[in-house]
Point group: C2
Chain length 310, copies 2
Amino acid sequence: MKNGIKVFAPATVSNVCCGFDILGFAIHGVGDEIIGKLSDRKGLRITKITGDQGRLPLEVEKNTAGLAAQRLLEHLGEAEIGIDIEIRKKMPFGSGLGSSAASAVAGAMLINEMFNQPLEKRALMEFAMEGEKLASGSYHCDNVAPSLLGGLIMCRDSETFDVHRIYTPPGLYATVVHPNIEILTKDARNILSNEVSLKGMIEQSGNLASLVLGMMNSDLDLIKKSLHDAVIEPQRAKLIPHFYDVKEAAMNAGALGCSISGSGPSIFALSPNSKIAEEVGERFKATFSKNNISNKVFVSEINNDGAVLI
Amino acid sequence: MKNGIKVFAPATVSNVCCGFDILGFAIHGVGDEIIGKLSDRKGLRITKITGDQGRLPLEVEKNTAGLAAQRLLEHLGEAEIGIDIEIRKKMPFGSGLGSSAASAVAGAMLINEMFNQPLEKRALMEFAMEGEKLASGSYHCDNVAPSLLGGLIMCRDSETFDVHRIYTPPGLYATVVHPNIEILTKDARNILSNEVSLKGMIEQSGNLASLVLGMMNSDLDLIKKSLHDAVIEPQRAKLIPHFYDVKEAAMNAGALGCSISGSGPSIFALSPNSKIAEEVGERFKATFSKNNISNKVFVSEINNDGAVLI
Protein backbone atom coordinates (compact mmCIF):
# COMPACT_ATOMS: atom_id res chain seq x y z
CA MET A 1 0.00 0.00 0.00
CA LYS A 2 1.40 3.37 -1.06
CA ASN A 3 0.43 6.56 0.72
CA GLY A 4 0.58 10.17 -0.43
CA ILE A 5 1.13 9.48 -4.09
CA LYS A 6 0.24 11.53 -7.14
CA VAL A 7 -0.87 10.34 -10.58
CA PHE A 8 -1.34 12.23 -13.82
CA ALA A 9 -3.70 11.39 -16.70
CA PRO A 10 -3.27 13.41 -19.88
CA ALA A 11 -5.69 15.33 -22.05
CA THR A 12 -6.60 13.65 -25.34
CA VAL A 13 -7.69 14.53 -28.84
CA SER A 14 -10.48 12.26 -30.06
CA ASN A 15 -12.48 12.08 -33.31
CA VAL A 16 -9.19 12.38 -35.19
CA CYS A 17 -10.48 13.47 -38.63
CA CYS A 18 -11.72 10.36 -40.44
CA GLY A 19 -11.67 8.38 -37.17
CA PHE A 20 -14.92 9.62 -35.62
CA ASP A 21 -15.59 7.78 -32.33
CA ILE A 22 -12.63 5.52 -33.14
CA LEU A 23 -9.31 7.35 -33.05
CA GLY A 24 -7.81 9.34 -30.19
CA PHE A 25 -4.35 10.33 -29.01
CA ALA A 26 -2.83 11.70 -25.82
CA ILE A 27 -0.79 14.88 -25.44
CA HIS A 28 1.74 16.00 -22.83
CA GLY A 29 1.51 18.71 -20.19
CA VAL A 30 -2.25 19.10 -19.84
CA GLY A 31 -4.47 16.78 -17.86
CA ASP A 32 -5.58 15.85 -14.37
CA GLU A 33 -3.48 15.25 -11.29
CA ILE A 34 -4.88 13.35 -8.35
CA ILE A 35 -3.24 12.90 -4.96
CA GLY A 36 -4.31 10.06 -2.68
CA LYS A 37 -3.74 9.76 1.06
CA LEU A 38 -4.77 7.12 3.55
CA SER A 39 -7.27 8.34 6.12
CA ASP A 40 -8.64 7.04 9.41
CA ARG A 41 -12.16 7.70 8.20
CA LYS A 42 -13.75 4.80 6.34
CA GLY A 43 -14.43 5.06 2.61
CA LEU A 44 -13.34 7.26 -0.27
CA ARG A 45 -13.61 11.02 0.10
CA ILE A 46 -12.85 13.88 -2.24
CA THR A 47 -11.37 16.52 0.02
CA LYS A 48 -10.43 19.19 -2.48
CA ILE A 49 -10.75 20.07 -6.15
CA THR A 50 -8.70 22.86 -7.71
CA GLY A 51 -8.72 24.31 -11.21
CA ASP A 52 -12.42 23.63 -11.81
CA GLN A 53 -13.83 27.05 -10.89
CA GLY A 54 -16.06 25.24 -8.41
CA ARG A 55 -17.92 23.36 -11.15
CA LEU A 56 -17.18 19.76 -10.19
CA PRO A 57 -19.04 17.88 -7.42
CA LEU A 58 -17.20 16.64 -4.32
CA GLU A 59 -19.65 13.77 -3.94
CA VAL A 60 -17.82 10.57 -4.89
CA GLU A 61 -20.64 8.93 -6.83
CA LYS A 62 -21.28 12.10 -8.84
CA ASN A 63 -17.64 12.87 -9.57
CA THR A 64 -15.98 11.29 -12.59
CA ALA A 65 -12.69 10.58 -10.85
CA GLY A 66 -14.44 9.60 -7.63
CA LEU A 67 -16.74 7.10 -9.28
CA ALA A 68 -13.93 5.43 -11.24
CA ALA A 69 -11.85 5.16 -8.06
CA GLN A 70 -14.83 3.88 -6.08
CA ARG A 71 -15.69 1.19 -8.63
CA LEU A 72 -12.13 -0.06 -8.62
CA LEU A 73 -12.05 -0.11 -4.81
CA GLU A 74 -15.24 -2.17 -4.83
CA HIS A 75 -13.75 -4.54 -7.40
CA LEU A 76 -10.70 -4.99 -5.16
CA GLY A 77 -12.94 -5.58 -2.12
CA GLU A 78 -11.41 -2.50 -0.47
CA ALA A 79 -14.41 -0.16 -0.34
CA GLU A 80 -14.06 0.13 3.43
CA ILE A 81 -10.55 1.54 3.42
CA GLY A 82 -10.20 5.25 4.20
CA ILE A 83 -8.77 7.28 1.32
CA ASP A 84 -8.82 11.04 0.82
CA ILE A 85 -8.21 12.34 -2.66
CA GLU A 86 -7.43 15.78 -4.01
CA ILE A 87 -8.14 16.51 -7.66
CA ARG A 88 -6.12 19.15 -9.52
CA LYS A 89 -7.58 19.94 -12.90
CA LYS A 90 -4.73 21.17 -15.03
CA MET A 91 -6.75 21.49 -18.19
CA PRO A 92 -9.86 23.28 -19.43
CA PHE A 93 -13.10 21.36 -19.37
CA GLY A 94 -15.96 21.30 -21.81
CA SER A 95 -13.11 21.87 -24.22
CA GLY A 96 -13.17 18.77 -26.41
CA LEU A 97 -9.90 17.58 -24.86
CA GLY A 98 -11.27 14.68 -22.86
CA SER A 99 -11.42 16.37 -19.49
CA SER A 100 -13.83 13.81 -17.99
CA ALA A 101 -11.78 10.94 -19.42
CA ALA A 102 -8.60 12.32 -17.83
CA SER A 103 -10.39 12.55 -14.47
CA ALA A 104 -11.79 9.05 -14.76
CA VAL A 105 -8.45 7.56 -15.80
CA ALA A 106 -6.61 9.39 -13.01
CA GLY A 107 -9.14 8.11 -10.44
CA ALA A 108 -8.69 4.48 -11.45
CA MET A 109 -4.94 4.87 -11.88
CA LEU A 110 -4.55 6.35 -8.39
CA ILE A 111 -6.24 3.43 -6.65
CA ASN A 112 -4.32 0.87 -8.71
CA GLU A 113 -1.04 2.55 -7.80
CA MET A 114 -1.92 2.91 -4.11
CA PHE A 115 -2.55 -0.84 -4.01
CA ASN A 116 0.69 -1.58 -5.88
CA GLN A 117 -0.85 -2.42 -9.24
CA PRO A 118 -3.16 -5.34 -8.56
CA LEU A 119 -4.47 -4.85 -12.12
CA GLU A 120 -2.65 -4.37 -15.38
CA LYS A 121 -2.96 -0.85 -16.70
CA ARG A 122 -5.11 -2.02 -19.60
CA ALA A 123 -7.62 -3.57 -17.20
CA LEU A 124 -8.29 -0.16 -15.63
CA MET A 125 -10.23 0.81 -18.72
CA GLU A 126 -13.55 -0.58 -17.58
CA PHE A 127 -13.37 1.31 -14.28
CA ALA A 128 -12.37 4.55 -15.98
CA MET A 129 -15.23 4.03 -18.43
CA GLU A 130 -17.68 4.02 -15.51
CA GLY A 131 -16.54 7.53 -14.67
CA GLU A 132 -16.57 8.62 -18.32
CA LYS A 133 -20.14 7.40 -18.79
CA LEU A 134 -21.25 9.36 -15.75
CA ALA A 135 -19.83 12.58 -17.17
CA SER A 136 -20.52 12.28 -20.85
CA GLY A 137 -23.18 9.61 -21.21
CA SER A 138 -20.89 8.26 -23.92
CA TYR A 139 -19.83 4.67 -24.25
CA HIS A 140 -16.98 5.46 -26.61
CA CYS A 141 -13.51 4.97 -25.21
CA ASP A 142 -11.62 7.12 -27.70
CA ASN A 143 -10.61 9.53 -24.91
CA VAL A 144 -10.28 7.10 -22.00
CA ALA A 145 -8.10 4.61 -23.87
CA PRO A 146 -5.40 7.06 -25.06
CA SER A 147 -5.43 8.93 -21.71
CA LEU A 148 -4.76 5.62 -19.95
CA LEU A 149 -2.48 3.87 -22.43
CA GLY A 150 -0.90 6.76 -24.33
CA GLY A 151 -0.21 7.03 -28.04
CA LEU A 152 -2.65 6.94 -30.90
CA ILE A 153 -5.37 4.47 -30.07
CA MET A 154 -7.93 2.90 -32.35
CA CYS A 155 -11.09 1.68 -30.64
CA ARG A 156 -12.53 -1.21 -32.63
CA ASP A 157 -15.27 -1.89 -30.16
CA SER A 158 -15.78 0.30 -27.12
CA GLU A 159 -18.21 -2.09 -25.45
CA THR A 160 -15.63 -4.85 -25.16
CA PHE A 161 -12.76 -2.37 -24.66
CA ASP A 162 -11.19 -3.78 -27.80
CA VAL A 163 -8.63 -1.05 -28.45
CA HIS A 164 -5.34 -1.09 -30.33
CA ARG A 165 -2.28 1.10 -30.33
CA ILE A 166 -1.27 2.43 -33.71
CA TYR A 167 2.40 3.23 -34.17
CA THR A 168 3.01 6.88 -35.01
CA PRO A 169 6.06 8.29 -36.81
CA PRO A 170 8.69 9.73 -34.47
CA GLY A 171 8.52 13.50 -34.32
CA LEU A 172 4.80 13.71 -34.95
CA TYR A 173 3.56 16.77 -33.06
CA ALA A 174 0.12 18.00 -32.13
CA THR A 175 -0.95 21.59 -31.74
CA VAL A 176 -4.20 22.24 -29.93
CA VAL A 177 -6.04 25.51 -29.50
CA HIS A 178 -8.83 25.94 -27.01
CA PRO A 179 -10.88 29.02 -27.87
CA ASN A 180 -12.80 30.46 -24.99
CA ILE A 181 -16.27 29.58 -26.22
CA GLU A 182 -18.62 26.94 -24.91
CA ILE A 183 -20.06 23.99 -26.78
CA LEU A 184 -22.03 21.37 -24.91
CA THR A 185 -21.17 17.82 -25.95
CA LYS A 186 -24.89 17.17 -26.05
CA ASP A 187 -25.44 19.96 -28.62
CA ALA A 188 -22.46 18.77 -30.66
CA ARG A 189 -24.04 15.29 -30.73
CA ASN A 190 -27.50 16.59 -31.55
CA ILE A 191 -26.30 18.58 -34.55
CA LEU A 192 -25.11 15.37 -36.22
CA SER A 193 -27.35 13.62 -38.69
CA ASN A 194 -28.05 10.00 -37.81
CA GLU A 195 -27.46 9.13 -41.46
CA VAL A 196 -24.36 9.31 -43.60
CA SER A 197 -24.34 9.04 -47.38
CA LEU A 198 -22.87 5.80 -48.71
CA LYS A 199 -20.48 7.92 -50.76
CA GLY A 200 -19.42 9.77 -47.63
CA MET A 201 -18.83 6.51 -45.79
CA ILE A 202 -16.64 5.20 -48.61
CA GLU A 203 -14.55 8.36 -48.69
CA GLN A 204 -14.23 8.37 -44.90
CA SER A 205 -13.29 4.67 -44.85
CA GLY A 206 -10.64 5.07 -47.52
CA ASN A 207 -9.05 7.88 -45.57
CA LEU A 208 -9.21 6.00 -42.28
CA ALA A 209 -7.61 2.85 -43.66
CA SER A 210 -4.96 5.02 -45.34
CA LEU A 211 -4.30 6.94 -42.16
CA VAL A 212 -3.61 3.71 -40.26
CA LEU A 213 -1.35 2.54 -43.08
CA GLY A 214 0.39 5.92 -43.31
CA MET A 215 1.05 6.01 -39.57
CA MET A 216 2.44 2.48 -39.49
CA ASN A 217 4.66 3.12 -42.51
CA SER A 218 5.73 6.61 -41.36
CA ASP A 219 4.42 7.83 -44.71
CA LEU A 220 3.84 11.54 -44.08
CA ASP A 221 2.42 12.15 -47.56
CA LEU A 222 -0.21 9.48 -47.06
CA ILE A 223 -0.99 10.77 -43.56
CA LYS A 224 -1.52 14.22 -45.03
CA LYS A 225 -3.75 12.94 -47.81
CA SER A 226 -5.79 10.92 -45.32
CA LEU A 227 -6.33 13.47 -42.55
CA HIS A 228 -9.72 14.55 -43.83
CA ASP A 229 -13.14 14.32 -42.32
CA ALA A 230 -15.80 14.15 -45.02
CA VAL A 231 -18.65 13.41 -42.63
CA ILE A 232 -18.53 15.04 -39.19
CA GLU A 233 -16.47 18.20 -39.59
CA PRO A 234 -18.78 19.78 -42.20
CA GLN A 235 -21.68 19.39 -39.76
CA ARG A 236 -19.92 20.66 -36.64
CA ALA A 237 -17.73 23.40 -38.09
CA LYS A 238 -20.55 25.90 -37.77
CA LEU A 239 -20.44 25.54 -33.96
CA ILE A 240 -16.96 27.05 -33.90
CA PRO A 241 -16.66 30.66 -35.12
CA HIS A 242 -13.85 31.13 -37.68
CA PHE A 243 -13.16 27.38 -37.84
CA TYR A 244 -12.23 27.39 -41.52
CA ASP A 245 -9.94 30.41 -41.15
CA VAL A 246 -8.15 28.70 -38.29
CA LYS A 247 -7.82 25.49 -40.27
CA GLU A 248 -6.53 27.29 -43.34
CA ALA A 249 -3.94 29.09 -41.23
CA ALA A 250 -2.69 25.75 -39.86
CA MET A 251 -2.51 24.11 -43.27
CA ASN A 252 -0.67 27.13 -44.69
CA ALA A 253 1.88 26.75 -41.91
CA GLY A 254 2.60 23.19 -43.07
CA ALA A 255 0.32 21.07 -40.87
CA LEU A 256 -0.46 17.56 -42.07
CA GLY A 257 -4.10 17.98 -41.10
CA CYS A 258 -6.39 20.02 -38.88
CA SER A 259 -9.85 19.36 -37.50
CA ILE A 260 -12.11 19.58 -34.47
CA SER A 261 -10.89 17.90 -31.29
CA GLY A 262 -13.59 15.72 -29.74
CA SER A 263 -16.85 17.60 -30.04
CA GLY A 264 -15.03 20.94 -29.92
CA PRO A 265 -14.55 23.82 -29.47
CA SER A 266 -10.85 22.89 -29.37
CA ILE A 267 -9.16 22.47 -32.73
CA PHE A 268 -6.09 20.32 -33.28
CA ALA A 269 -3.48 20.01 -35.97
CA LEU A 270 -0.84 17.36 -36.56
CA SER A 271 2.58 18.39 -37.84
CA PRO A 272 5.69 16.52 -38.97
CA ASN A 273 7.95 18.28 -36.45
CA SER A 274 8.01 20.68 -33.50
CA LYS A 275 8.99 23.70 -35.56
CA ILE A 276 5.92 23.50 -37.75
CA ALA A 277 3.77 22.61 -34.73
CA GLU A 278 4.95 25.79 -32.96
CA GLU A 279 4.27 27.86 -36.07
CA VAL A 280 0.79 26.34 -36.30
CA GLY A 281 0.27 27.38 -32.67
CA GLU A 282 1.20 30.98 -33.52
CA ARG A 283 -1.28 31.01 -36.39
CA PHE A 284 -4.01 29.44 -34.26
CA LYS A 285 -3.51 32.10 -31.62
CA ALA A 286 -3.33 34.97 -34.09
CA THR A 287 -6.47 33.94 -35.98
CA PHE A 288 -8.67 33.65 -32.90
CA SER A 289 -7.12 36.69 -31.25
CA LYS A 290 -7.74 39.00 -34.20
CA ASN A 291 -11.38 37.94 -33.95
CA ASN A 292 -11.37 38.82 -30.25
CA ILE A 293 -11.70 35.27 -29.03
CA SER A 294 -9.34 34.57 -26.16
CA ASN A 295 -7.66 31.21 -26.51
CA LYS A 296 -4.99 28.92 -25.19
CA VAL A 297 -2.55 26.94 -27.30
CA PHE A 298 -0.80 23.68 -26.42
CA VAL A 299 2.02 22.16 -28.46
CA SER A 300 3.03 18.58 -27.69
CA GLU A 301 4.63 15.54 -29.17
CA ILE A 302 2.26 12.57 -29.18
CA ASN A 303 2.24 11.35 -25.57
CA ASN A 304 3.12 7.66 -25.63
CA ASP A 305 3.03 7.24 -21.85
CA GLY A 306 -0.61 7.86 -21.00
CA ALA A 307 -1.43 7.91 -17.30
CA VAL A 308 1.62 7.86 -15.02
CA LEU A 309 2.61 7.84 -11.39
CA ILE A 310 4.49 11.06 -10.72
CA MET B 1 8.99 -5.20 -79.64
CA LYS B 2 7.90 -8.65 -78.53
CA ASN B 3 5.75 -10.83 -80.72
CA GLY B 4 3.54 -13.81 -79.84
CA ILE B 5 3.50 -13.26 -76.10
CA LYS B 6 0.89 -14.19 -73.52
CA VAL B 7 -0.12 -12.32 -70.38
CA PHE B 8 -2.34 -13.34 -67.49
CA ALA B 9 -4.39 -11.09 -65.20
CA PRO B 10 -5.97 -12.75 -62.16
CA ALA B 11 -9.49 -12.75 -60.80
CA THR B 12 -10.02 -10.61 -57.71
CA VAL B 13 -12.22 -10.44 -54.64
CA SER B 14 -13.40 -6.90 -53.95
CA ASN B 15 -15.65 -5.36 -51.27
CA VAL B 16 -13.68 -7.34 -48.69
CA CYS B 17 -16.13 -7.24 -45.75
CA CYS B 18 -15.76 -3.84 -44.07
CA GLY B 19 -13.82 -2.51 -47.08
CA PHE B 20 -16.70 -1.78 -49.45
CA ASP B 21 -15.40 -0.14 -52.64
CA ILE B 22 -11.98 0.09 -50.98
CA LEU B 23 -10.39 -3.33 -50.42
CA GLY B 24 -9.67 -6.02 -52.98
CA PHE B 25 -7.23 -8.90 -53.36
CA ALA B 26 -6.06 -11.13 -56.19
CA ILE B 27 -6.18 -14.92 -56.30
CA HIS B 28 -4.22 -17.48 -58.31
CA GLY B 29 -5.32 -19.78 -61.12
CA VAL B 30 -8.40 -17.99 -62.40
CA GLY B 31 -8.36 -14.97 -64.66
CA ASP B 32 -7.88 -13.84 -68.23
CA GLU B 33 -5.15 -14.78 -70.67
CA ILE B 34 -4.46 -12.66 -73.70
CA ILE B 35 -2.11 -13.49 -76.55
CA GLY B 36 -0.77 -10.76 -78.82
CA LYS B 37 0.72 -11.12 -82.29
CA LEU B 38 2.00 -8.56 -84.72
CA SER B 39 -0.04 -8.31 -87.89
CA ASP B 40 0.42 -6.73 -91.34
CA ARG B 41 -3.00 -5.16 -91.05
CA LYS B 42 -3.06 -1.73 -89.40
CA GLY B 43 -4.60 -1.29 -85.98
CA LEU B 44 -5.70 -3.48 -83.10
CA ARG B 45 -7.96 -6.44 -83.80
CA ILE B 46 -9.57 -9.02 -81.56
CA THR B 47 -9.38 -12.18 -83.59
CA LYS B 48 -10.74 -14.71 -81.15
CA ILE B 49 -12.39 -14.98 -77.77
CA THR B 50 -12.75 -18.30 -75.97
CA GLY B 51 -14.42 -19.21 -72.71
CA ASP B 52 -17.06 -16.48 -72.95
CA GLN B 53 -19.90 -18.55 -74.44
CA GLY B 54 -20.06 -15.99 -77.22
CA ARG B 55 -21.09 -13.18 -74.88
CA LEU B 56 -18.22 -10.74 -75.36
CA PRO B 57 -17.94 -8.35 -78.34
CA LEU B 58 -15.06 -8.63 -80.81
CA GLU B 59 -15.25 -4.92 -81.54
CA VAL B 60 -12.22 -3.28 -79.92
CA GLU B 61 -13.96 -0.17 -78.61
CA LYS B 62 -16.74 -2.25 -77.07
CA ASN B 63 -14.51 -4.90 -75.55
CA THR B 64 -13.03 -4.30 -72.11
CA ALA B 65 -9.60 -5.74 -72.94
CA GLY B 66 -9.67 -4.20 -76.41
CA LEU B 67 -10.44 -0.71 -75.18
CA ALA B 68 -7.75 -0.79 -72.48
CA ALA B 69 -5.19 -2.01 -75.03
CA GLN B 70 -6.34 0.57 -77.57
CA ARG B 71 -6.08 3.48 -75.11
CA LEU B 72 -2.56 2.46 -74.19
CA LEU B 73 -1.57 2.15 -77.86
CA GLU B 74 -2.90 5.67 -78.44
CA HIS B 75 -0.98 6.96 -75.43
CA LEU B 76 2.19 5.41 -76.82
CA GLY B 77 1.50 6.93 -80.24
CA GLU B 78 1.33 3.41 -81.71
CA ALA B 79 -2.33 3.19 -82.73
CA GLU B 80 -1.32 2.45 -86.32
CA ILE B 81 0.62 -0.70 -85.56
CA GLY B 82 -1.03 -3.97 -86.52
CA ILE B 83 -1.74 -6.23 -83.54
CA ASP B 84 -4.05 -9.24 -83.35
CA ILE B 85 -5.16 -10.37 -79.95
CA GLU B 86 -6.81 -13.51 -78.70
CA ILE B 87 -8.67 -13.44 -75.40
CA ARG B 88 -9.01 -16.59 -73.33
CA LYS B 89 -11.43 -16.16 -70.46
CA LYS B 90 -10.40 -18.63 -67.81
CA MET B 91 -12.91 -17.50 -65.26
CA PRO B 92 -16.69 -17.09 -64.94
CA PHE B 93 -18.10 -13.68 -65.62
CA GLY B 94 -20.91 -11.80 -63.93
CA SER B 95 -19.56 -13.73 -60.96
CA GLY B 96 -18.36 -10.98 -58.64
CA LEU B 97 -14.76 -11.98 -59.26
CA GLY B 98 -13.69 -8.99 -61.29
CA SER B 99 -13.98 -10.53 -64.73
CA SER B 100 -14.04 -7.20 -66.55
CA ALA B 101 -11.15 -5.89 -64.46
CA ALA B 102 -9.05 -8.96 -65.34
CA SER B 103 -9.79 -8.38 -69.05
CA ALA B 104 -8.96 -4.70 -68.83
CA VAL B 105 -5.74 -5.31 -66.92
CA ALA B 106 -4.67 -8.07 -69.32
CA GLY B 107 -5.31 -5.78 -72.30
CA ALA B 108 -3.13 -2.99 -70.95
CA MET B 109 -0.50 -5.42 -69.67
CA LEU B 110 -0.20 -7.12 -73.07
CA ILE B 111 0.55 -3.91 -74.93
CA ASN B 112 3.04 -2.75 -72.30
CA GLU B 113 4.86 -6.08 -72.51
CA MET B 114 4.84 -6.14 -76.32
CA PHE B 115 6.50 -2.72 -76.28
CA ASN B 116 9.04 -3.83 -73.64
CA GLN B 117 7.49 -2.01 -70.70
CA PRO B 118 7.52 1.66 -71.70
CA LEU B 119 5.36 2.28 -68.59
CA GLU B 120 5.74 1.11 -65.03
CA LYS B 121 3.17 -1.49 -64.08
CA ARG B 122 1.46 0.91 -61.72
CA ALA B 123 0.95 3.43 -64.52
CA LEU B 124 -1.15 0.90 -66.46
CA MET B 125 -3.97 1.44 -64.00
CA GLU B 126 -5.51 4.39 -65.80
CA PHE B 127 -5.68 2.48 -69.09
CA ALA B 128 -7.14 -0.60 -67.44
CA MET B 129 -9.68 1.64 -65.73
CA GLU B 130 -10.89 2.82 -69.15
CA GLY B 131 -11.80 -0.77 -69.93
CA GLU B 132 -13.32 -1.35 -66.49
CA LYS B 133 -15.54 1.71 -66.81
CA LEU B 134 -16.80 0.50 -70.16
CA ALA B 135 -17.88 -2.81 -68.69
CA SER B 136 -19.12 -1.91 -65.27
CA GLY B 137 -19.77 1.82 -65.35
CA SER B 138 -17.85 1.82 -62.10
CA TYR B 139 -15.05 4.20 -61.27
CA HIS B 140 -13.81 2.11 -58.34
CA CYS B 141 -10.47 0.43 -58.83
CA ASP B 142 -10.81 -2.22 -56.13
CA ASN B 143 -10.73 -4.98 -58.77
CA VAL B 144 -8.39 -3.42 -61.33
CA ALA B 145 -5.70 -2.47 -58.81
CA PRO B 146 -5.26 -5.92 -57.20
CA SER B 147 -5.54 -7.70 -60.58
CA LEU B 148 -2.72 -5.50 -61.86
CA LEU B 149 -0.51 -5.18 -58.79
CA GLY B 150 -1.37 -8.31 -56.81
CA GLY B 151 -1.86 -8.65 -53.07
CA LEU B 152 -4.41 -6.95 -50.87
CA ILE B 153 -4.93 -3.44 -52.13
CA MET B 154 -6.59 -0.51 -50.42
CA CYS B 155 -7.98 2.15 -52.74
CA ARG B 156 -7.94 5.48 -50.93
CA ASP B 157 -9.12 7.41 -53.93
CA SER B 158 -10.04 5.67 -57.16
CA GLU B 159 -10.19 8.88 -59.18
CA THR B 160 -6.52 9.66 -58.63
CA PHE B 161 -5.55 5.95 -58.63
CA ASP B 162 -4.26 6.45 -55.10
CA VAL B 163 -3.97 2.81 -54.07
CA HIS B 164 -1.81 1.11 -51.46
CA ARG B 165 -0.65 -2.43 -50.91
CA ILE B 166 -1.42 -3.84 -47.49
CA TYR B 167 0.89 -6.55 -46.23
CA THR B 168 -0.92 -9.82 -45.55
CA PRO B 169 0.25 -12.57 -43.19
CA PRO B 170 2.05 -15.44 -44.93
CA GLY B 171 -0.19 -18.44 -45.38
CA LEU B 172 -3.40 -16.43 -45.69
CA TYR B 173 -5.66 -18.36 -48.04
CA ALA B 174 -8.84 -17.48 -49.85
CA THR B 175 -11.64 -19.83 -50.75
CA VAL B 176 -14.11 -18.65 -53.34
CA VAL B 177 -17.34 -20.32 -54.42
CA HIS B 178 -19.18 -19.27 -57.54
CA PRO B 179 -22.76 -20.54 -57.43
CA ASN B 180 -24.41 -20.86 -60.80
CA ILE B 181 -26.93 -18.05 -60.36
CA GLU B 182 -26.96 -14.65 -62.00
CA ILE B 183 -26.86 -11.27 -60.29
CA LEU B 184 -26.47 -8.14 -62.37
CA THR B 185 -24.01 -5.67 -60.90
CA LYS B 186 -26.58 -2.99 -61.63
CA ASP B 187 -29.21 -4.78 -59.49
CA ALA B 188 -26.68 -5.34 -56.72
CA ARG B 189 -25.96 -1.59 -56.77
CA ASN B 190 -29.62 -0.62 -56.89
CA ILE B 191 -30.52 -2.70 -53.87
CA LEU B 192 -28.16 -0.62 -51.72
CA SER B 193 -29.50 2.27 -49.73
CA ASN B 194 -27.78 5.58 -50.47
CA GLU B 195 -27.69 6.23 -46.74
CA VAL B 196 -25.86 4.47 -43.93
CA SER B 197 -26.59 4.97 -40.25
CA LEU B 198 -23.91 6.89 -38.37
CA LYS B 199 -23.72 3.95 -35.97
CA GLY B 200 -23.19 1.58 -38.90
CA MET B 201 -20.44 3.77 -40.30
CA ILE B 202 -18.65 3.82 -36.94
CA GLU B 203 -18.81 0.03 -36.61
CA GLN B 204 -17.66 -0.43 -40.21
CA SER B 205 -14.80 2.06 -39.75
CA GLY B 206 -13.59 0.42 -36.56
CA ASN B 207 -13.47 -2.93 -38.28
CA LEU B 208 -11.74 -1.57 -41.37
CA ALA B 209 -9.02 0.21 -39.40
CA SER B 210 -8.58 -2.94 -37.30
CA LEU B 211 -8.40 -5.14 -40.38
CA VAL B 212 -5.56 -3.04 -41.81
CA LEU B 213 -3.78 -3.17 -38.46
CA GLY B 214 -4.39 -6.91 -38.06
CA MET B 215 -3.04 -7.64 -41.54
CA MET B 216 0.08 -5.55 -41.01
CA ASN B 217 0.74 -7.12 -37.62
CA SER B 218 -0.14 -10.67 -38.72
CA ASP B 219 -2.66 -10.66 -35.89
CA LEU B 220 -5.08 -13.40 -36.92
CA ASP B 221 -7.37 -12.83 -33.93
CA LEU B 222 -7.80 -9.20 -34.83
CA ILE B 223 -8.31 -10.07 -38.50
CA LYS B 224 -11.05 -12.48 -37.49
CA LYS B 225 -12.75 -9.93 -35.23
CA SER B 226 -12.58 -7.31 -37.97
CA LEU B 227 -13.80 -9.31 -40.97
CA HIS B 228 -17.39 -8.16 -40.64
CA ASP B 229 -19.59 -6.12 -42.88
CA ALA B 230 -22.23 -4.26 -40.89
CA VAL B 231 -23.48 -2.21 -43.83
CA ILE B 232 -23.50 -3.87 -47.25
CA GLU B 233 -23.77 -7.62 -46.63
CA PRO B 234 -27.10 -7.39 -44.76
CA GLN B 235 -28.58 -5.60 -47.77
CA ARG B 236 -27.18 -7.88 -50.46
CA ALA B 237 -27.36 -11.26 -48.75
CA LYS B 238 -30.94 -11.74 -49.93
CA LEU B 239 -29.74 -11.77 -53.56
CA ILE B 240 -27.85 -15.03 -52.90
CA PRO B 241 -29.96 -18.04 -51.92
CA HIS B 242 -28.63 -19.83 -48.81
CA PHE B 243 -26.00 -17.14 -48.21
CA TYR B 244 -26.16 -17.39 -44.43
CA ASP B 245 -25.99 -21.21 -44.47
CA VAL B 246 -22.93 -21.05 -46.68
CA LYS B 247 -21.31 -18.46 -44.44
CA GLU B 248 -22.05 -20.42 -41.30
CA ALA B 249 -20.54 -23.54 -42.86
CA ALA B 250 -17.34 -21.64 -43.63
CA MET B 251 -17.07 -20.13 -40.17
CA ASN B 252 -17.67 -23.54 -38.58
CA ALA B 253 -14.80 -24.90 -40.64
CA GLY B 254 -12.47 -22.32 -39.08
CA ALA B 255 -12.53 -19.45 -41.58
CA LEU B 256 -11.42 -16.03 -40.34
CA GLY B 257 -14.28 -14.38 -42.18
CA CYS B 258 -16.71 -14.91 -45.02
CA SER B 259 -18.73 -12.49 -47.14
CA ILE B 260 -19.91 -11.62 -50.62
CA SER B 261 -17.24 -11.19 -53.29
CA GLY B 262 -17.74 -8.00 -55.28
CA SER B 263 -21.43 -7.63 -55.90
CA GLY B 264 -21.91 -11.42 -55.83
CA PRO B 265 -23.05 -14.08 -56.38
CA SER B 266 -19.60 -15.44 -55.51
CA ILE B 267 -18.83 -15.80 -51.84
CA PHE B 268 -15.31 -15.75 -50.41
CA ALA B 269 -13.73 -16.78 -47.15
CA LEU B 270 -10.29 -16.07 -45.74
CA SER B 271 -8.50 -18.77 -43.77
CA PRO B 272 -5.26 -18.93 -41.80
CA ASN B 273 -3.88 -21.87 -43.83
CA SER B 274 -4.51 -24.07 -46.85
CA LYS B 275 -5.96 -26.96 -44.84
CA ILE B 276 -8.77 -24.87 -43.44
CA ALA B 277 -9.23 -23.15 -46.81
CA GLU B 278 -9.70 -26.55 -48.48
CA GLU B 279 -12.15 -27.62 -45.79
CA VAL B 280 -14.07 -24.36 -46.29
CA GLY B 281 -14.22 -25.21 -49.99
CA GLU B 282 -15.76 -28.62 -49.23
CA ARG B 283 -18.39 -27.00 -47.05
CA PHE B 284 -19.13 -24.32 -49.63
CA LYS B 285 -19.63 -26.99 -52.27
CA ALA B 286 -21.72 -29.26 -50.05
CA THR B 287 -24.03 -26.47 -48.90
CA PHE B 288 -24.86 -25.21 -52.37
CA SER B 289 -25.01 -28.73 -53.83
CA LYS B 290 -27.52 -30.02 -51.30
CA ASN B 291 -29.71 -27.10 -52.33
CA ASN B 292 -29.33 -28.11 -55.98
CA ILE B 293 -27.26 -25.12 -56.98
CA SER B 294 -24.32 -26.13 -59.13
CA ASN B 295 -21.16 -24.31 -58.15
CA LYS B 296 -17.44 -24.05 -58.62
CA VAL B 297 -14.89 -23.66 -55.85
CA PHE B 298 -11.45 -22.05 -56.03
CA VAL B 299 -8.85 -22.25 -53.28
CA SER B 300 -5.84 -19.96 -53.50
CA GLU B 301 -3.19 -18.27 -51.46
CA ILE B 302 -3.35 -14.47 -51.78
CA ASN B 303 -1.81 -13.75 -55.19
CA ASN B 304 0.96 -11.24 -54.66
CA ASP B 305 2.03 -11.16 -58.31
CA GLY B 306 -0.98 -9.64 -60.04
CA ALA B 307 -0.77 -9.49 -63.82
CA VAL B 308 2.19 -11.38 -65.30
CA LEU B 309 3.85 -12.21 -68.57
CA ILE B 310 3.63 -15.97 -69.02
